[in-house]
């Protein structure tokens, strides 16, 4: 699954560690999500969408 997390994080001016703190996860989790190595759970995907003020479908795009 592709996602726009890195793009949204960069446009918010946050580091991976800052985003991880806001989502209450580890920086490794944010990195794995951004690089597409890990698809987050539904609650975490909702938290990410809420944080960036977008819908889940606008952030996570079904792909590979």
């Amino acid at each position: 699954m592709n996602n726009r997390v890195r793009e949204l994080r960069s446009s918010s001016g946050w580091s991976q560690a800052e985003l991880a703190d806001r989502l209450d996860v580890s920086r490794q989790t944010v990195n794995a999500i951004e690089t597409g190595k890990y698809d987050p759970s539904l609650p975490l995907a909702f938290a990410i969408a809420r944080l960036f003020g977008e819908s889940i479908e606008a952030i996570f795009i079904p792909g590979k």
Binding site: S26, T29, K37, Y38, P40, L44
Partner: protein, 130 residues
Amino acid sequence: MAFAQTRRYLRDMGLVTLFYIASVFVAGVVSKRMEPGALRILVALIPLPSIAWMAYAEMRRLRRRDELRQRVEVEAMTIAFAVSFCVIVMLTFLDLFGALKTSLPVAGLIMAVCWLAAQIWVRLRYRYWA
């Protein structure tokens, strides 16, 4: 967050580890001076509560971790269980059929090594290849 969790884990595990070492020492010294029997078995099992306490501390640590780390831990444990089970069964057969003499304590060592190797493997996989 990670530092606080690590400090809490060390606090949880530090005390129980000391208790475990002390109980192994006490059980070892006392049981060797006893006649074989039920009481000696009970004394030899003194370290058991501290092992159960360690397992509980490890479960608490797992529950506090975030979802990716929980997945890494569970995958590592699954792989480690499967591999160590196969190795231990293989060694048991070798021992039973007289091909290789093995001792029971080696099973714990095999499980620990498999768990560590699986942890490294799964972490690297999520970092580079997943």
